[in-house]
C-alpha cells in the first residue's frame, strides 16, 4: 500500500511546474534527437548528463525518462515519412509506414505508430510499477555468488545480442571491462594501470566514456558523410501533405489489428527490455515477427501493414519500462539509454538495489510517472501539434548542428568536474569509438562492459573470499547454479544453428528505398 501511495505521490511531483517543464522539455529534446537520423535518445541523455550535476535528482530523472520514451517513438516519424528510421528500433516501422506513405496514407501510418507507442509505453510503465516490488524481493534472495552469476549472465546476453558480430561484440565488451580496471583496485588500496599518471590513479569516469563514445564519435562519423547538407535531405514540398484529421486511426482499423496484438507486443517488448543489451530494435523485430506469424493478413506485411506498425511500435516503447527493472534493482542496464540513466543515479549518490525502493522511492516514483505520462499524453499531443511540421523541424543543416553538439559534448565533459583531463579523455574515447565503428565493432557493449566489469570483479572476489577460495561456491549456491544453467542454456541454444533457423525472419534491403522480407517457418 505504501508503495502505491509513493507512486501516486510521484505523479503529484510532476505537477510541480519546474518538474513538468523538464518533462516536456525532455520530451521535445528526445523527439528531435529520435527523429533526426544519426542522432539518438542515448546521445541526447549523454549530452545532458553533465547538466544533471547542477540539477535536483527528480527533474533530472524525469527528463531522462521523457527523453527515453520520446526517442523511441520519434524514430517512427522519419521512418514513415522518408523511409529513414530515425532510430534503429524504427526499422520495422519504416518498412510498413513508408509503404503506407507512398499510398497516400502517411498521416494514418503516423497515427498508428503513435497509438502503438502510446499503448506500449503505458503498458510498459504499468508493468514496471507492478513488477518493481517483485523484482526488489527477488533481488534480496540473490547472494554474492548469485550476483556474480547474474552479471556474467548479463555480459553473455550483451555479447550474443550482437548476433552477426559476436567476436566483435566480445572485443568491445572486454575493452570496456579493461578500461574500468584503471584506477584504485576495488578490494585493496593499490592503483592499477595508472602508468605513472596521478590523474589515472583516480580511475576513469563514466562521463568522458559516454560523451566520447556516443557524441564525439558521431561527429567524426558525420564528417565523412554529406557534411554540408541537411539532416533530412528531402524538400518538405516533395512529401505529400499531412493533415491533422487523418492522424486519428479509424476504430475499424484498430479493431482489425486487435487489442491482443497491442497487449502481446507490449508484453514481449517489456520482457525483452529486461534482457541486458537487447534494446528497442530487438523488441520491435521480435514482436513484429510474432505479429506476422499469427496474423490473419500476413500478405499485407511489407506492403503497408498497420498491424506491423502497431506491433513494432508497441514493443519498442514498452521496452522502455522493462529496461529500468534490471537497472534499478541490480545496477544492470537493459540498454544504452538506461546505462546513461544509471550514470545520473550514481552522480546523484543513489545506489541501485532493493534499498532504493525502500528508502528513496520518492525520488524514483516521479520517473515512473514521467514514463507513463510521456506515453499517455505527450506522444499523441506532440503528433497532433507538430505532426504536419515534423520534417521541417528535423531538417537542420549539419554544419550548424554538429558544431553545437561538439560544444555541448566538450564543455559538458568539463563542467562535470571542472577538469581539462576529462575533455582529453572524451576526445580520446571519441577517436577510439570512431575507429571501432568504422570497422563495424558495436560500441554499446563497450559502455555496458565498463559498467558491469567492476561489479563482476567485486562479486567474484567477494564470493571467493567468503568461501575460503572455494570456486564450488558458484555451484553450491542455488541462485548461482540456476543462473549458470540459464547461461549454459542460452549459449547452447545460440550455438545450435538448427534452433536458430526455426522461424527465421530476415529483412533484405534491395536498394533504396525498396525492402523485401523473407519469412520462413
Amino acid at each position: 500500500m505504501e508503495f502505491i501511495i509513493e507512486i501516486l505521490q510521484g505523479f503529484t511531483a510532476i505537477a510541480d511546474p519546474i518538474v513538468l517543464g523538464f518533462m516536456v522539455g525532455g520530451f521535445f529534446i528526445g523527439t528531435f534527437f529520435g527523429a533526426v537520423p544519426g542522432l539518438t535518445a542515448v546521445l541526447a541523455i549523454a549530452l545532458l548528463l553533465p547538466i544533471t550535476y547542477s540539477l535536483d535528482v527528480v527533474p533530472a530523472l524525469v527528463m531522462c525518462a521523457a527523453i527515453f520514451m520520446s526517442g523511441m517513438y520519434a524514430g517512427s516519424i522519419t521512418a514513415t515519412t522518408i523511409n529513414i528510421p530515425g532510430a534503429p528500433s524504427s526499422l520495422m516501422t519504416s518498412i510498413e509506414g513508408n509503404a503506407l506513405m507512398k499510398k497516400g496514407h502517411g498521416a494514418n501510418a503516423l497515427g498508428h505508430a503513435a497509438l502503438g507507442s502510446m499503448i506500449g509505453g503505458v503498458i510498459g510503465a504499468l508493468l514496471l510499477i507492478c513488477f518493481t516490488p517483485v523484482a526488489a524481493r527477488l533481488s534480496l534472495l540473490i547472494q554474492t555468488p548469485g550476483k556474480f552469476s547474474l552479471i556474467l549472465f548479463a555480459l553473455v546476453v550483451i555479447v550474443i545480442s550482437n548476433r552477426d558480430e559476436i567476436p566483435k561484440g566480445s572485443v568491445t565488451t572486454l575493452l570496456g571491462i579493461m578500461i574500468a580496471t584503471v584506477g584504485i583496485d576495488i578490494m585493496q588500496p593499490i592503483a592499477r594501470f595508472h602508468f605513472g599518471s596521478e590523474l589515472l590513479v583516480e580511475g576513469i569516469d563514466m562521463m568522458p566514456l559516454i560523451i566520447g563514445t556516443f557524441a564525439i564519435s558521431e561527429i567524426l562519423v558525420q564528417l565523412g558523410k554529406d557534411k554540408g547538407g541537411l539532416t533530412v535531405d528531402i524538400k518538405a514540398d516533395d512529401i505529400p501533405a499531412i493533415k491533422r484529421r487523418d492522424f486519428l486511426p479509424p476504430l475499424a482499423e484498430v479493431r482489425r489489428i486487435g487489442v491482443w496484438t497491442y497487449i502481446k507486443s507490449s508484453v514481449i517488448g517489456y520482457f525483452i527490455g529486461i534482457l541486458p543489451g537487447a534494446g528497442g530494435s530487438v523488441a520491435a523485430f521480435v514482436s513484429y515477427a510474432e505479429a506476422m506469424r499469427n496474423s490473419k493478413h500476413p500478405n499485407e506485411y511489407g506492403k503497408g501493414s498497420r498491424e506491423g506498425i502497431a506491433a513494432a511500435e508497441a514493443a519498442n516503447n514498452s521496452m522502455c519500462g522493462g529496461a529500468f527493472v534490471p537497472m534499478l534493482m541490480f545496477g544492470i542496464p537493459g540498454d544504452p539509454t538506461t546505462a546513461v540513466v544509471l550514470g545520473v543515479l550514481i552522480i546523484n549518490g543513489l545506489q541501485p538495489g532493493p534499498r532504493l525502493l525502500e528508502n528513496q522511492l520518492h525520488l524514483i516514483a516521479p520517473m515512473f510517472a514521467s514514463l507513463f505520462l510521456s506515453a499517455l499524453i505527450l506522444i499523441p499531443l506532440t503528433l497532433f501539434s507538430l505532426g504536419p511540421y515534423f520534417i521541417k523541424i528535423v531538417s537542420i543543416r549539419k554544419a550548424i548542428l554538429y558544431p553545437c553538439i561538439a560544444v555541448v559534448a566538450l564543455v559538458g565533459s568539463y563542467v562535470a568536474t571542472y577538469s581539462i583531463f576529462q575533455m582529453i579523455l572524451a576526445l580520446g574515447f571519441g577517436i577510439m569509438a570512431y575507429f571501432l565503428r568504422k570497422q563495424q565493432y558495436p560500441t554499446v557493449p563497450l559502455l555496458l562492459g565498463f559498467i558491469l566489469g567492476p561489479k563482476l570483479e567485486q562479486y567474484l572476489r567477494r564470493s571467493l573470499s567468503l568461501s575460503d577460495n572455494n570456486p564450488l561456491t558458484f555451484i553450491t549456491s542455488p541462485d548461482s547454479l540456476f543462473l549458470h544453467c540459464v547461461n549454459c542454456s542460452i549459449l547452447l541454444l545460440h550455438g545450435n544453428p538448427e534452433a536458430n533457423r526455426d522461424n527465421e525472419m530476415s529483412i533484405e534491403f534491395t536498394g533504396d528505398p525498396s525492402v523485401s522480407i523473407r519469412h520462413t517457418t
Partner: protein
Amino acid sequence: MPFALFFLTTIYLITALQITPQVDEGLVGPSFIPVLASIFMYAALGFVVRGILNDPQKPQNDKQSLWVLAQMVIVTAAYILLFKKLGYPLSTFLFVYALLYIFSLEEKSYLKRIFYSAGITGIFYILYAICFNVRLPLFEGIS
C-alpha cells in the same frame, strides 16, 4: 584494428602481471580479472582475425578523408588545450568558427560564419552559465 587492440592488450597484460597485491587473496587478486580479460581478448581477436581472413573482400565504403578527420581532431585538441587559457567565450568562438569551416558552411561567406560562431557561443554560454549556474572560465586569471 585487431592488431592495435592486440598491441594494447599485450601492454595491459604485462602491466597486470606486474601488479603486486598488498594482501594475499589466494587465487583471485587485483590482477586476476585483468589477466582473464586479456586472455579472452586474445581469443576474441583471434576469432575476429579469422573472420577477416575468411571474408577478405568485404565491401569497404569508407570514403572519409583522413585529412578531414585529422583537422577535426587537431582543432578539438587545440580547443581543449586553450579552453582555460583563452576562456570559454574566445576559445569556443574560434572552435565553432573552425568547425563551421570544416563542415563546409558557406565557404565564401566569412561574415555568416562569424555570425553563427558568435550565436552558438552565446547560446551555450547562456545555457551553462546563466540557466545552470556553471562556472565557465572567462580568461586565464579571470573566472
